[in-house]
Symmetry: C2
Subunit: 249 residues, 2 copies
């Protein structure tokens, strides 16, 4: 597959992206310098799909482009970059380390959340939300992770504990049943003492040091859709994320 198929229905720029990624992976190390001119001749297409392919590869961090110089592959380490830990990802993360995590969901309800949460979710005065808690524990051992979620959703959204456990995600149910997707989220991370609720969920004394992550999730139109607060024990789990900011220090 180093040729463009114009009958496949797959956009040309996607085919080009795929070919270029394969090229870069094959070259392995001192990658090729590409120019638009060269790619125009090679694929015999106009400049638009070439530029769209290169722009997307640049956005994805596969290549970088410098005006008047060229387009160069970004050197990547061999190690897989883990993205931010998800609930689902959390379980496979633990499994990959030979552990046997067990997840439990409880306290399912539709109700009015605490005022601070209602404010964050910009709820109408009479609006209620779906809420539940999720605990992740090592098999036969102590819990390592506990979270409470509030999900703004239609009245009919009332999944069962079994559905939540099986799907691994309330949000995938929300997307499947109501076409509501969370596309962006804001996370605040800090170190503090476990609340009473968290101390019960994690089976540690109240005030024990826990890593707290508060996440507000937004739908594509920018409305807040979910609020989540998770707490985890020291050393058990690491949170990984990436940024494209210039670095300071």
């Amino acid at each position: 597959m180093a040729k463009i198929d114009r009958t496949s229905g797959v956009p040309i720029y996607r085919q080009i992206k795929q070919i270029l990624v394969a090229d870069i992976e094959a070259s392995d190390g001192a990658g090729p310098v590409m120019t638009e001119e060269e790619l125009l001749r090679r694929f015999r297409v106009s400049r638009a799909p070439i530029r769209q392919a290169l722009r997307e590869l640049s956005d994805e961090g596969v290549v970088y482009r410098e005006r008047a110089k060229g387009t160069f592959p970004v050197r990547r380490s061999q190690v897989k970059r883990p993205s931010a830990l998800k609930f689902g990802g959390l379980i496979s993360y633990l499994q990959d380390r030979g552990l046997h995590p067990v997840t439990e969901v409880a306290e399912l309800d539709r109700s009015r959340p605490p005022a601070s949460v209602a404010a964050s979710l910009e709820l109408a005065p009479d609006e209620d939300v779906f809420t539940f808690s999720r605990q992740i524990a090592l098999e036969g051992g102590a819990p390592v992770f506990w979270a409470r979620l509030f999900i703004r959703s239609p009245e009919e959204f009332r999944p069962t504990a079994e559905e939540l456990k099986q799907s691994g995600s309330a949000f995938s149910l929300l997307a499947r049943d109501h076409g509501i997707n969370i596309t962006r989220s804001e996370h605040v991370v800090w170190l503090t003492g476990a609340t009473p609720e968290e101390s019960r969920g994690l089976q540690v004394p109240e005030g024990s040091p826990v890593l707290v992550v508060e996440t507000l999730g937004f739908t594509k139109d920018g409305r807040p859709g979910t609020w989540r607060r998770s707490a985890q024990l020291p050393d058990e789990l690491k949170l990984v994320f990436e940024s494209n900011d210039p670095l300071w220090g």
Copy 2:
């Protein structure tokens, strides 16, 4: 400024972006639906700059686009979204809260880092790096933040403590003097006990719970350029970041 100036040298799509952002902010709330067709007529330009403007606004999360529907403004809360805390940002963050942080840099050196760091930075066997530590304390009070940095850099890069304090950032010096920029970074966050070094820097007992952030910074070509580990005390500081992943849980 609601007209395109073709003589200004500012690209048309940038002028369009600016106008559209102003439109959205002015509309405040139930924002306008834009279509490419309408913008073509309004600005009397071809489709390329229109699409580039809308694509960038979409990437920036200002609008979202739906095929066959239109382009809609993303509703934003009034609250400022703090981006990931930077060292420089950390100081203004504390100042904004009426505190008076003092930053100290120490232990400046060019040397060979520990093996694990050398491996992360993919150093040559004989390569050394610039290293130093930075402490942030409240005025007359205890430190709240301590970090150690290792910066891959030319032999000549040997800033003084004063330069580091004044610029607020070793990376801005590296960019200014050697044109080396950190464009992407990977962060790992977890809760653990303070190392001996950190316990001295933070003036707490060894093993006290601290929030640790390990950051690896990369240059545009994908080579690791900096390694940083910071530790901070409970409740003092919060780390904020944003992601565009679909949310799980």
